[in-house]
Amino acid sequence: MATMSAFHTLRGVSLETIGSSCNLWRNNVYSLTTKSCRLRCLQSRILRPFSSRQHNPKVPEVPTWEPAPEEQLPPPTKIPVDLVDKLERLALVDFRTKQGLECLEKAIRFADQLHVVDTSGVEPMDSVLEDRALYLRDDTATEGDCAEELLKLAKNTVEEYFVAPPGNIPLPKREERTAMLRHSEF
């Protein structure tokens, strides 16, 4: 799916964006006192593009940004009603107005620009932390026992339980949907 590629951070792209905000980061890095390991990791990544001699030719020397020319992009994605239906079910959101659809199509069009980036031979990256060791915790209880505090946040509770509607509320069936759409803007 077109939208999926937007989720994948590509190594080249991520370095570029990190590089561009590098100064900003550097200024803030030392003032932050939280989890130092995360920050150290970020630092190392930030500094690498500048310190490493072997510069990846796919990564621009300086940060640049310009919209990709329309003719380089794949044909614009049109969202069929069926797909809207599916997305609404999956994400439990409601965007069945013309504006909602336009917004989605624009977002996909924006993400289409990623197709222009040549990523051949570049391994996708999951996270900027991926070369860090994953911290492993001891198996000792340190938290929990805050039912009262948590239950206070809920709209409905019964005794010590959270209360939810019975099962998932089914969204309207496609036939009902079509009938509804006939009366809406499109």
Partner: protein
């Protein structure tokens, strides 16, 4: 509000706990019942006609990791705690909370993987699997979809088959993968008030999902495989394996096809909470699909629930008809790295931070299959007895302790342990560790029998008495109740003479060559002396008197 409060406590009371049946040789019997049922059906006789439909079974097993705390949070893991008392901010998915992986859970998964001959992935990855359900507060579950911690293993299981059910049949099932993932919370459906009560105590508890390839052909094999897995997990201590408490949850993928043809459309059977029901549910489902296909119909790909009352599987309404889990890499967890051995640890890594495969391998306990083979080898007992010893928690240790303290032959001791001891344990519904008769006390009693102080029937009588009055030794009971063997020759001669005199027909038969009748006279003498006569002496005397 008051009304719903009452409903909540009623719901709580209605959560019936199925009593945990102490697993033992019962399994063998359990399976055999299902087999009997199965063999009356055409499916089981696939060998005669090549066109016969055969069942294909794969399993997906969720094993709750036995740990103090959850997979990604430091809240305790405990069964039957007050609702929502074991929930951290992360478990409730409050914004800004982050997962912190529990080392114990990783070690448990690696250990389980090693015990199942898996390849341990030195690098594994976490993913988010999205779905909406009220007991999953984050809207996604953290799992290992792309690269699980262990892959490509094999579980060897055996069961007793053959006509007399005393033949050990050994089979393999491939383990596709073992992945770490979070458990969900629990939903209590309150139909009266049209609402669902959510308890998040279980939310975030570490699970190992084990995927078994469709290498099994029916309920009996699947049950034996799960039972073996259960024993392995319990031996490792990585999962308590209690199905009725949900520590081990089994879903079965069942299809039928003709041998050599592609696999048929499968159904997924859920809601199976014991090994016995697993066998029954699978056999029912195979039969149902066979009927459908033979009638010319097609099997629908669906999820079915097993109803233990009716013994049937029924279509289950899916959580969502349209399943698209929208997997994505978990951005908050870097890849999980485990190391082959201490030499491969990178410099500067904190040793207590590293999970080292070699160290875990060295700590693996003796697994049930090895135990059984060793018992058969070392003591010359029958394979079915080795099953009983390994199936009942602590029974093997009990048997071996008795063996160390007695000179009695293993084949005799095994009878005592698997019949007398297990019989009383079952009757009292208790476990080996609660046996009032210690291995030492039993050994002492057996020594008395071996030395000829008491007969075997008296020994059994004394054993019952020892059970009833714990702390008393066998010797004390024998003295108190005057149960010692009668070896007073004069007394024995008197009783034997009496029996011989009053049974002229039997004596006649013996004299004319039918020596077996002597046993009947021996029985009568024993009856007269309440089983306390020295059998060797009695036989000698009777032979003398009837010659």
């Amino acid at each position: 509000m008051a009304a719903s409060c009452i409903a909540a406590s009623e719901l709580l009371h209605n959560i019936k706990l199925i009593p945990y049946h102490k697993a033992s040789c019962v399994l063998i019997r359990r399976i055999s019942t299902s087999k009997l049922k199965c063999s009356s059906q055409p499916v089981a006789e696939a060998t005669s006609a090549p066109q016969q439909l055969v069942g294909v079974v794969g399993l997906e097993i969720h094993a709750q990791i036995s740990s103090n705390t959850k997979l990604f949070s430091g809240s305790s893991v405990q069964f039957l705690a007050p609702p929502n008392s074991l929930v951290s901010f992360f478990d409730a998915s409050l914004p800004g909370t982050l997962p912190v992986l529990n080392r114990r859970c990783v070690e448990a998964a690696v250990m389980t993987g090693l015990a199942l001959n898996c390849t341990i992935n030195k690098k594994s990855l976490f993913d988010r699997k999205h779905y909406f359900y009220a007991d999953l507060p984050a809207g996604y579950q953290i799992t290992q979809q792309r690269r699980p911690v262990a892959v490509d293993g094999v579980l060897t299981y055996s069961f007793l088959g053959g006509k007399k059910r005393n033949q050990v049949i050994r089979k393999n099932v491939h383990i596709k993968q073992i992945q770490l993932e979070q458990d969900s919370g629990k939903s209590l459906h309150d139909d009266v008030n049209n609402q669902t009560l959510i308890d998040l105590n279980r939310a975030g508890v570490g699970l190992m999902e084990l995927v078994m390839e469709p290498d099994m052909s029916g309920g009996e094999e699947a049950a034996a495989a799960v039972r073996e897995l259960q024993l392995i997990l319990q031996a490792l201590g990585t999962c308590q394996g209690n199905m009725s408490e949900g520590q081990l949850r089994v879903d079965a993928n069942v299809s039928v096809h003709r041998a050599g043809e592609p696999l048929g459309v499968r159904t997924e059977v859920k809601n199976i909470n014991s090994i016995r029901f697993l066998a029954k549910a699978i056999d029912f489902e195979i039969q149902r699909q066979t009927d459908v296909v033979q009638r010319g119909g097609t099997v629908k790909n669906e999820t079915r629930a097993y109803d233990s009352k009716s013994g049937e599987t029924v279509p289950m309404r899916d959580k969502e008809g349209l399943q698209d889990y929208r997997f994505m890499p978990e951005p908050n967890l870097p890849p999980l790295i485990v190391f082959e051995d201490n030499a491969s640890l990178p410099a500067g890594i904190d040793a207590c931070q590293a999970v080292v495969v070699q160290t875990i391998k060295e700590g693996l306990p003796e697994l049930p299959g090895i135990k059984r083979d060793r018992l058969v080898q070392a003591y010359g007992i029958l394979p079915e007895h080795s099953f009983t010893l390994v199936n009942e928690d602590g029974l093997m240790e009990y048997f071996e302790a008795v063996m160390r303290a007695t000179k009695m032959e293993p084949r005799k001791v095994i009878g005592w342990v698997t019949n007398e001891l297990v019989g009383l344990l079952k009757q009292q519904n208790t476990s080996v560790s609660h046996s009032p008769v210690t291995p030492a006390a039993l050994a002492e009693l057996l020594e008395l029998q071996e030395a000829g102080h008491i007969s075997s029937s008296v020994a059994k009588q004394v054993f019952q008495e020892m059970w009833r009055s714990p702390g008393k030794t066998g010797a004390e009971i024998i003295r108190e109740q005057d149960l010692g063997l009668v070896s007073d020759a004069a007394k024995l001669h008197r009783v034997c003479q009496k029996v011989v005199d009053s049974h002229p027909d039997e004596v006649c038969a013996i004299r004319s060559g039918n020596k077996k009748v002597l046993n009947r006279l021996m029985g009568l003498v024993q009856k007269e002396l309440k089983g306390r006569a020295d059998p060797v002496l009695v036989r000698e005397i009777l032979q003398e008197k009837t010659s």
